[in-house]
């Protein structure tokens, strides 16, 4: 729940649940980018991330009519659903060791030009993909999804202290992997 007490998504979810087409569009506009970004960074695969986004919203449509304001924050519930779908896919990957790993972005710049923002982005995405799963998850939830520490720890099923440790270790690993880019100014 937000500090003010009211969930900013409650009204939109309720209207979407009543079949209000404008609310459906507004809810998708507000949340699809977040869900897609979460899945892309956790799975490292754009097509799989789109599948997760579709499955997540199917569950939203299924539950919107029965959504009860005040029981849970909608954004947290949405992250829970998307995270579980990502976990399922990551688990299936682990169970099929021979499966082709998803394409990783090419971490290096083209040889004939310097580092541009896009290249840096690719390097960062590759470094993020190389992190242990739980560290990556902590960084994605806190840094990219901008969830609060209590919310993120709850979603991951760990204590706030454990989350802080995962974040610090993840960031340390990223600093190491990106040391040539993050040099002292």
């Amino acid at each position: 729940m937000t500090p003010g007490g009211a969930d900013p998504d409650d009204e939109l979810v309720a209207r979407a649940g009543r079949g209000d087409a404008a609310a459906v569009r507004a809810l998708v506009a507000r949340k699809l980018g977040r869900v897609l970004a979460l899945a892309e960074r956790l799975l490292g695969d754009a097509a799989e991330a789109e599948d997760v986004a579709q499955e997540t919203f199917l569950r939203v449509w299924r539950h919107a009519a029965a959504w009860r304001p005040g029981r849970a924050k909608f954004d947290t519930w949405l992250h829970r659903v998307a995270l579980n779908l990502c976990y399922d896919r990551l688990r299936r990957r682990r169970e099929r060791p021979t499966a082709e790993p998803p394409d990783q972005p090419d971490p290096g710049p083209a040889p004939d030009r310097g580092l541009e923002a896009e290249d840096v982005g690719r390097r960062v995405r590759a470094a993020l993909s190389a992190l242990p799963e739980r560290q990556r998850e902590a960084i994605v939830l806190c840094h990219y999804q901008a969830l609060g520490n209590i919310e993120a720890a709850g979603l991951m099923g760990v204590s706030v202290e454990a989350l802080e440790s995962l974040l610090a270790r993840g960031r340390r690993a990223l600093r190491g992997a990106l040391a040539d880019l993050a040099g002292p100014h």
């Binding site: 079949g19 087409a21 982005g121 960062v124 806190c142 520490n149 802080e164 993050a182």
Partner: protein, 141 residues
């Protein structure tokens, strides 16, 4: 807040106190006000990684994905004919076709047949009802 705690928070959450846990922000700002040089150094160091992390921008959802998701929302079906309605329309069409066929048959039939038909009892009103799916059995959702 101690220097150690300040460093721990910067290590975990980066160089922007505004993105640290809400419960720690006031104390962190107080520490930064009292230890300006040290705090600035810690924050700047953590902030360098933040800048890099923000270079990884998420791709915007495609219009196709957005529309596919919207189309599967409950309202996505509102503009489409429901199955039961289509069934009812088909039933009514068939009923109309049958009625037209009977009428044409009467017009083209020999008089004896017409007389026979005229003397026959009228078919029950619900004869064609089986062709029209009741709305209650629709399952158009």
């Amino acid at each position: 807040m101690t220097e150690e705690r300040f460093r721990t928070l910067a290590d975990a959450h980066g160089g922007d106190i505004g993105r640290w846990p809400a419960a720690d922000q006031a104390a962190a700002r107080a520490f930064a006000a009292g230890q300006a040089m040290l705090a600035a150094q810690i924050l700047a160091e953590a902030g360098r990684l933040d800048v890099l992390l923000f270079a990884d921008r998420a791709v915007a959802p495609s219009a196709e994905l957005r529309e596919a998701i919207i189309a599967r929302a409950p309202t996505g079906r509102a503009g489409r004919p429901r199955r039961w309605a289509m069934g009812a329309g088909l039933g009514l069409g068939l009923a109309a076709a049958c009625a037209a066929g009977v009428a044409a048959g009467v017009l083209l039939a020999p008089p004896s047949v017409v007389r026979l038909l005229a003397g026959a009892p009228s078919p029950p009103a619900d004869d064609v009802s089986g062709l029209v799916a009741p709305a209650g059995q629709a399952g158009g959702v």
